[in-house]
Symmetry: C2
Subunit: 257 residues, 2 copies
């Protein structure tokens, strides 16, 4: 029984990739079989695992070569229990072709069906905003995680994302789209504004906010510079323990195992 | 003689909006006439100036109602010397229609021609990534500013953006696309990794990096929470003086006045 989890947000730079990378690693350490898919042309997932060279088959073929079996697109690194579909090099023209294919919101969901029996978890790192790739990620997911930086512009963007989410749900009455929760990220306990925004969000959307908060953590910044998950870089760091707690919270809350 | 300046990046959350908002305000304080255009459906510019209610005409009509004169889309606030085209509410379907219109990279550039004599500066805040709206912003601009957060993933994304930029240039041989410079933003002098990345960037791309560096500055975070430019919120803050220095550097470097 595979659970598909997408990381989506309207706002940029709120920790979608960091959360996908580190939650995937947490699951892998917990002996779950994970497939991590990078839908973003900027290829952050590949860099987050130290894969310096571009891959020849990946997200581009996922959309533009639908007859190519998923198996051909899947890569490994030295990480146990983790497989990847990396975002490979694409020209602006190819990006446009992909967005046309992805105007079919259900495309990715159907494409991933052949992977359902192989993996315990499929994690999807989406680009920011509500373009066709992000909507495909939302539609393919059993659970959507919405990272949120506790700053005013990110909160305003979240409101707009939730409106779009409802609009997408209405468009797909036969699919039950689910928000697993809002994940407060990059939380800086020394900033009054972060505490204030966290309070407002908890007050307005309490039940939907994960108990786990990801703190602003220097080891996380360092780990992405070194091309490693923070969990393999420094297991004892606050960043690592937060993402492991998030895994446990998810598993409990949604009875994933 | 109008100068059009776009704020673009592959990476999300690197300070495009903050830079567009604050540079626009700096120019306005300098008595220049400014039009600030928000191309991003998340509407951050409107929130950055405390405009709480959605506007009825704006970016949506800019693309979907090309016969509507620009004048009808332009709004003011109590800011002297500043006019705005705000991003107004758009459904996912309207977003898709806009992206189809924007597949013509030169659309925005032609649309803005009627504004050329009215303003000294037209500033365009683009969404992250290299989708049709961002490419329209690049193509419409005399000068493109690339904000860069001094962290590894943002640097990797910058590389990809520069490749895409060159690809766009080749596609438009009769237009001279120009990168004004890379603007280091959110620079945290207490983080070793930020200093290290800044050194690498200056070493690799020295001539293209603005001398002005925008520091990580609590007043900037606070100002966007209060719906004001940092310059009107706290003129003495490091954030304000940095964006004013950037204005001076731009004016000198490109002999804008
Ligand atoms: N908790 C944290 N503490 C410190 N740095 C963090 C934390 N989370 C993320 N970062 C850093 O912040 C930057 C943005 O994070 P990330 O790239 O994961 O966001 P994103 O939402 O995927 O961005 P994009 O919209 O560009 O895809 C990265 O450089 C990352 O290393
Ligand atoms: N120099 C700074 N110091 C402190 N906070 C900053 C600074 N610059 C920007 N910020 C804050 O960081 C967040 C991201 O900045 P901003 O929204 O301008 O980035 P962006 O590139 O426009 O993001 P997006 O990709 O979502 O459009 C905002 O909450 C903003 O207030
Ligand atoms: Mg990302
Ligand atoms: Mg922005």
């Amino acid at each position: 029984m595979t659970t598909v989890i997408s990381f989506v947000s309207q706002k940029g730079g709120v920790g979608k990739t960091t959360s996908a990378v580190n939650l995937a690693t947490a699951f892998a350490f917990g002996e779950y079989k994970v497939l991590l898919i990078d839908l973003d042309p900027q290829s952050s997932v590949r860099f987050s695992f130290g894969v310096k060279n571009p891959v020849d088959l990946g997200t581009k073929e996922l959309f533009l070569k639908p007859d190519l079996p998923l198996q051909r697109l899947i890569r490994r690194t030295d990480q146990e229990n983790m497989h990847f579909i990396f975002s490979n090099q694409m020209t602006l023209h190819e990006e446009q072709l992909i967005s046309h294919v992805a105007e079919d919101d259900g495309f990715l969901r159907r494409r991933l069906e052949e992977a359902y029996l192989t993996y315990d978890f499929i994690l999807i790192d989406a680009p920011a905003a509500t373009g066709p790739l992000s909507l495909n990620a939302v539609c393919a997911a059993d659970l959507n995680i919405l990272p949120l930086q506790c700053e005013s512009l990110a909160v305003k963007s979240l409101k707009r994302f939730l409106v779009s989410f409802n609009e997408l749900q209405k468009k797909l009455p036969h699919r039950e789209l689910k928000i697993a929760g809002i994940l407060l990220t990059m939380f800086d306990k020394d900033l009054e504004i972060h505490k204030k925004v966290a309070q407002q969000i908890n007050k307005a959307l309490g039940g939907s906010v994960f108990k786990t908060v990801i703190p602003k953590n220097a080891q996380i910044t360092e780990s992405s510079a070194l091309g490693r998950s923070v969990i393999t870089y420094d297991l004892k760091s606050e960043g690592s323990s937060a993402y492991i707690r998030l895994m446990d919270e998810l598993i409990d809350k949604f009875r994933l195992r």
